[in-house]
Amino acid sequence: MVSFKLVRRYLGKHKVRSILTIGSLVVALFLLCMLRSLVVALDAGVRGAKRDRLVVQSAVSLFVDLPQSYQSKIAAVEGIETICKWQWFGGRHPTEEAFFAQFAVDMSELPKLYPEIAIVEGSFADVAAERRGCVVGRTLAKTFNWQLGQTVPLLGTIFPGPPGDGWQFTIKAIYEPTSSAVDGNTLFFHWDYFEETVESTMGMTPGTGTYFLRTAPDADQVAIAGAVEQLFDNGPQRVTCSTEAEFQAQFVSMVGNVPFFVAAIGGGVLIAIVLACINTMLMAFREQLHDAGILKAVGFTDGSVAGLMLAESLLLCGLGGFGGIALAKLSEPGLRAALGSMFPGYEVTGETLLLASALTLAVGLVAGVVPALRARALRVVEALRSVE
């Protein structure tokens, strides 16, 4: 049998080396967990999508608006319970560098469409009562240190603001998303304020980028989507009606090869750390050559001497690996706040933890197997002849 005490003593004998190896394992596993969580975060919107939400957008381009006259025609399709205009605003804060999303929406429909938007301060009623009222995510409010009742000025990059003050929004409610379908970094404001302002500054009635729909729970979504698309087959703007999941997936596919790049980086990290662990274990093996001879001489079997090497490797990698995994999990809230605007759904999932644990175990086995095999094949006389 392998004595745990012996394993611990051997690792303790070269404290500096053990600590450095554990340290690099902590770093590597932390990095691997983080990289995977970043890729997972890309899919957040898709994962949180609901079956009964549909999105209508131009069939040509994400940047082509749909006429407002479409709204009543779409709403008339059987099975649709809620329809909400949804327009990307693309404003920039005059002083803050960080970017965040803003949408002009039918405020009365928003809570019906997204029950996942849970108000934690203020209320939808307060927003409804104020023409310039808006709802902001808690993460966003925290980032810029915004309070309820505060006015947020924005510079319109697509829609120039009214002369004088420009675009002004008053925070009347703060929400916290209850699922990854909603991003906590968004500002929603009144469609009416948007439309009236654009009419006066640009002299045209704005269209809406998308219509978000919510169907009856037992409705046939495929049939509804088909019916909506058919309405506008002959123009003026053809539309695509897709499920919320498909709609979100188009943003994921836009990032292209990024998941592959991240996997390649992760592969590089993994190779480097495996080599480092093999290196450490080979050093340990050379130093323990003499001891291994003694152990065998006093009656330890080949198997238990090999087991000793393997156990050392597993303990070393286990300590480092789980340190890294713990670090990744502990740093999750902090990193989520820091990466907020780019990776709103940053989350170290259970699957990531499991995968990282499996990798840790694999690194420990790979690093330990060569010295273990050599220790097993060791002949007592030769081992005893070697000097430390």
């Binding site: 450095l20 381009s61 940047f63 697509i158 990032v255 292209g256 980086i265 480092a276 290196n279 080979l282």
Partner: protein
């Protein structure tokens, strides 16, 4: 007196399995960094190096990219017809070398089955082609015929995006456009589809142009550009148009700013984190090198070598380890040079295709990084070696 270099090099050879593992470990770290840097180099060269200083881009005030910008036809006409800074084709009486362009990112399917992406479609006028001059080359088919429903496609799209081959039909809303030519053009244009400006406005139901491009007269180039831009934005004659001008180079540099910075931050963060792990490994290797040669260090000390040269000798050994690792990393990274890839540039929300470029600065950065790793990893062990007492060291075998 310095410790002979051959002593250092031979000791690396004697402990070759440790040397080999360490060099490969550093190599993997360096290769990752070089890869990210090469990605960034490819992306920024494509945009910035190909931007021209003699071409001006006019956008609506407040817009950061042409997708957001919109300029009415009347405004475009006034700019093109009245600005003396716009060059004329074939002498002062010729037509202005300026064109209205519309720009829209349209949804297209990728050929690799990776789903939809946004491909830029540009409506151009004859002057757009004239401004590009010889930089625009048709490699297949023919040039665009204005007034008809045809498009020409950038070469980089052909193998990436559905129905972009010669003879294919690109459906825009309810109008089909036939692909009549494939073009090459330095810069980001090779990821675009071009059609007749007027036909595009009708097909896409666009009310206004997105931007005006113009070739500048020599007086408005270089140092002359700044006063021109100021005059346009603030001078009495044109202020009411609410239009701003940028050189094409400056405009393209802005388009890449965000992605370039993201990649740079990413590579810095990665190199710090991975570098930490690699430094630990190098320290381990060097510590064991010192430990296994304690007796020899004792001999060197008793022969009269001073501690400092011994310190240098071990530091040099670590630097050689780093250098070898850097070389391995560069060798690992070299094969990705020229591989084409694509990602969405979130400044324009469109996909751009570009190639990894392992440039000399990328390699230099990677080697420097590797040397720093060696230096950091070797410092403590070398210090330890130099501080050994000769009698103690000699006693250890």
């Amino acid at each position: 007196m310095l410790v002979p270099i051959t002593y250092t090099l031979r000791s690396l050879f004697v402990r070759r399995s440790a040397t080999f593992l360490t060099v490969l470990g550093i190599g993997a770290t360096v290769a990752v960094l070089a890869g990210v840097l090469a990605l960034r180099a490819g992306f920024t060269t494509l945009f910035v190096q190909n931007g021209r200083d003699d071409v001006a881009v006019f956008l609506r005030q407040g817009a950061t990219s042409e997708g957001e910008s919109g300029i009415t036809r009347e405004t475009c006409d006034r700019l093109i017809k009245t600005l003396p800074q716009i060059a004329k084709a074939g002498g002062p009486e010729g037509a202005p070398l300026a064109a209205m362009e519309c720009y829209l990112a349209v949804r297209r399917n990728k050929l690799d089955g990776g789903g939809e992406t946004n491909v830029p479609i540009r409506g151009v006028e004859a002057a757009s082609l004239a401004i590009r001059g010889d930089a625009l080359r048709f490699v297949e088919g023919r040039a665009l015929q204005f007034g008809s429903d045809e498009v020409v496609v950038g070469r980089k799209l052909v193998d990436r995006i559905e129905s972009c081959r010669l003879g294919d039909v690109v459906q825009l809303n309810t109008t089909p456009f036939r692909v009549v030519g494939i073009f090459e053009c330095d810069g980001p244009f090779e990821s675009e589809i071009w059609g007749d400006f007027e036909r595009m406005l009708v097909a896409l139901q666009r009310p206004v142009a997105n931007r005006v491009v113009a070739k500048l007269v020599p007086e408005a180039q270089g140092d002359g550009f700044e006063p021109f831009a100021t005059m346009l934005a603030e001078g009495d004659a044109y202020q009411d148009l609410k239009v701003i001008a940028k050189t094409e180079r400056a405009y393209l540099a802005e388009m890449t700013g965000a992605l370039g910075t993201t990649l740079l931050v990413l590579s810095l963060a990665l190199s710090v984190i991975m570098g930490l792990a690699a430094t630990f490994t190098a320290t381990n290797t060097m510590l064991s090198a010192v430990a296994s040669r304690t007796h020899e260090i004792g001999i060197l000390l008793s022969l009269g070598f001073r501690p400092f040269p011994i310190f240098l000798s071990f530091l040099f050994e670590a630097l050689v380890l780093g250098l070898l690792g850097g070389a391995v990393g560069c060798l690992l990274a070299l094969p990705i040079n020229g591989i084409e890839t694509g990602t969405t540039n979130f400044a324009t929300f469109t996909e751009v295709a570009f190639a990894f470029r392992v440039t000399p600065p990328v390699l230099a950065g990677a080697i420097t990084f590797a040397l720093v790793l060696g230096l950091l990893g070797g410092a403590v062990p070398a210090w330890r070696a130099a501080r050994l007492a000769p009698t103690e060291a000699l006693r250890r075998r």
